[in-house]
Structures are given as C-alpha cells and as structure tokens.
Subunit: 218 residues, 2 copies
Amino acid sequence: MAVANAAVKIPMEAPVSEKRVRNRAATEQAILDAAKRLLAEEGFQNFGINAVARGAGCDKQLIYRYYGGLDGLVEAIGTDLGSWVKDRIPDDTGGMFLLTYGDLMERLALLFLDALRADPLMRRIVAWEVSENSEQVRRLSEARSKALAGWIERMRGSLTPPKGIDAQVVNAIIFAAIQHVVLSATVSDQCAGLALKTARDWEKAATALKRIVRGVYG
Amino acid sequence: MAVANAAVKIPMEAPVSEKRVRNRAATEQAILDAAKRLLAEEGFQNFGINAVARGAGCDKQLIYRYYGGLDGLVEAIGTDLGSWVKDRIPDDTGGMFLLTYGDLMERLALLFLDALRADPLMRRIVAWEVSENSEQVRRLSEARSKALAGWIERMRGSLTPPKGIDAQVVNAIIFAAIQHVVLSATVSDQCAGLALKTARDWEKAATALKRIVRGVYG
DNA sequence: CTTGCTACTCACCGCTCGGTGACAGATTGG
DNA sequence: CCAATCTGTCACCGAGCGGTGAGTAGCAAG
C-alpha cells in the first residue's frame, strides 16, 4: 500500500457533505449553535445530549469533553445570552422624547413585546422557566433576567416612577403579562380566548397594553 | 393438596398492601386520580403511561383498555376539570356589592390569583399550555378556558365594561399576567426579579394588581 | 364441576435516552 | 524517526419509555 499516502493526499473530498475539519474552536461553536437552534426550534422537551450532537453533526462525546455535559452547555448558552439580547432589543428610544415614566414604560413594554415575539430562543427559555426548576434552568433564567434588568436600567436613564406606586411590583406584573401573552400566542395563536394571529390582533393587544400602562402611570 | 381450598378461603389477606379488589369502576377512578395527582405533583415532564400505572398501582394495560391510552386519559381529566373548577373558585361575590365593572374585575382578578395559587393541577396545565402544542394539551386547555369563561360569565351578571375600552383584550392580558406571576413564583419564588415568597410579598403583588385593574377600569 | 366472561398481570418488543471506554487519524515536539 | 497529544468516531451499556399479545385469577350462570 505504498500509494496510500498519495491517495490520502488527493482523496475524493466531501463525497456528500464537506469533510469535517479538525478544529476544536469551530466544533465548539457548532455545538453551541446547534444547541441554541434546537432549543429555539424544538423547545426544551426533546432537548438532550443526543439531539444536540445530532444537530451539530458530531459525536456526543465531544459535548462531554468540551462542555462537561449538558449542564455546561446550557451554562454556555446562558453566558451567550447577554450579547444575544443586545443584538435583538434596541437600546435607544427610537428618536422619541421620553418625558415621563409612563412614556418610558409604555415604550419598554412595546419593545419587549416585539422583541420576545421575534426571538424564539428567548420564548423557549421563558417557557422553560415556568415549567421546571432545575439547575440548568436556574442558570439560564438568571442570565436572562440579568440581561433584561440591565437593558431596562440603561433605558430608564434618570426617569423615576411616580410617588406612591410600587413600580417594581407593577412592572414585574406587566412584564409577566407580556411574557405570558407571547408564549400563549406562540403555542396556540390565542390567549385566554383572545385570538392573537393577525397583525390586527396584535395591534389590539398592543393598544390594550398601552392602556394598562397608562392607566397605572398616567 | 386437599387443604388448598381452605387455605384460599381464609388467606393471609393483604400481606403488605390491601388486596386489589376486582372492580372496574374503582380501578378507573384510581387511574384517573393517580393521573391528576401525578400531573399536579410532578408536572407534565415525567407524565406517561408507565408513571400513571405505577401511581395507580395497576398494570398500564388497563389504561389502554379503559381510556384508550394516555390521550383518552388526559381527555378524561379535561372532562373532570369543569367540576374541579367549581369546587375551587367561589361563585358568589363574598358579600360584596359589585357596583361597577372595575369592582367586578378587581374581585375576579384577586379570586383567580388565589385559586391558581391554591391549585397545583391547574398550574401544571397552564404551564403545559405554554410549553407544548399537542392534541392532549389542546383538549385540556380548551376544557380549562371553557370552565374559566363560564365562571367569569356567571360572576359578571349584568355589569358591562366602560365604553371605549376593549375589555376582552384588556382582561386577557390581566389574566395572562396573573397566570405568569403565579407560575413563575411556583417554580422559583420570584418573578422578573420580584420576590414572591412570603405573605407580605403576595400582598404587595395583589395591591399592584388592584392598582393596574383600577387604572384601566377606574 | 364446567364453561364463559371479565378484571387484571406478565413478559416481551423495539426504541431512545444519557453515559463511558476503547480506538483511529491528524498534528506537533523531541 | 518515534512518541505524545489532540480531535473525532464508534460500539456498547443499563435503564426507561410506549405499546402489545398471551396468559392468569376471580366470579356467575348453566
């Protein structure tokens, strides 16, 4: 087999899919991407070592080696989440002048609504958060809420809530409402009997949301 | 072995657990109860034929025979749900005079909040609803929302929402908020960074909720 | 007692899961 | 050149899953 070397040097490369390159960094990234994609598209139900490995096109052993298992991988997703959020939720006021706390909260609520609607991964994580209480989920949840809190703080600027209102609690409830509405709509195109399918439906929801925010903050 | 018959007639009954009686109705009920209990306590994650059969102390084959499988069993739970709700959410106004639509919605919101906090099965179903879109879940969800809508309609009486407000949409958002807050608190004792552990925490949440409702409906 | 019917159990199937140990090919350093 | 190391693959394990076909125990009528 003296010709073996030559044959290896010019093999019929990539008979069907391009040959896997030996590159740890790229493989790690491929695994991370596959995990995020899987979580976003399939949800946490069928999320596991085997599925991720299949999605990344590599052996699951590498997930154990590079991330120490599913937990480590999920943690890596969490770490990734901060930048993820930054890319997806605008950080300016869209040219608006936010004169009052009510202006601010209305804008934040609508921005958050749109951002969540547009981001499947975030939606899955939120759904996961209210369905399971594992270490995995806790880490993800923490990363998410931290990113969210940071965003709100940045947007808030120097505006302060009106006296006599426990804004932290009110805001938590409003954001909870947004999350549940979006989750419910994603799964079943409706929420509590309210259709949430067409753009028109969502406009009505946004209007009602504005009304609620304005009702509290004026 | 002539004594065999005598031995059978007076056997050491129930050596450890009482002997299973041959009673189809009772077994069906045991299966249904086990399913509800399992769903309430463990959630939908590990909910399956084997787990239910184990919980009911019978063979899974009986679940196929009596309910036609998990789907039929879940449907039976859904059917059960109407009466379940009636037992758990009060149907009167608690001696209050509800003069305005705002009065009504405030009371409904608080009642719903408490009822959901007190009912693990309902919470699991709600969590399931926002996590998966299967036929099973759709059936359960439908039964739940029907029961809920019926309750609201009964409580509403002749009160009508103020003009110029799309009450259906606003109410859907408010109920969504309640559901998400309760789910989140159940899993992690907090929601969007807001602690929801002590009675004091919940009082604050209830106050904020009232403020939101009153903000919209006056 | 025999014969059916019903309630119920058991053993087994194929499959996927998470997890591990052994191994092959490429790369690098001596 | 060999040897060590790194990257990636493969075969296999035990366990649990949903699902099924065959068989057993109790009861009632003849």
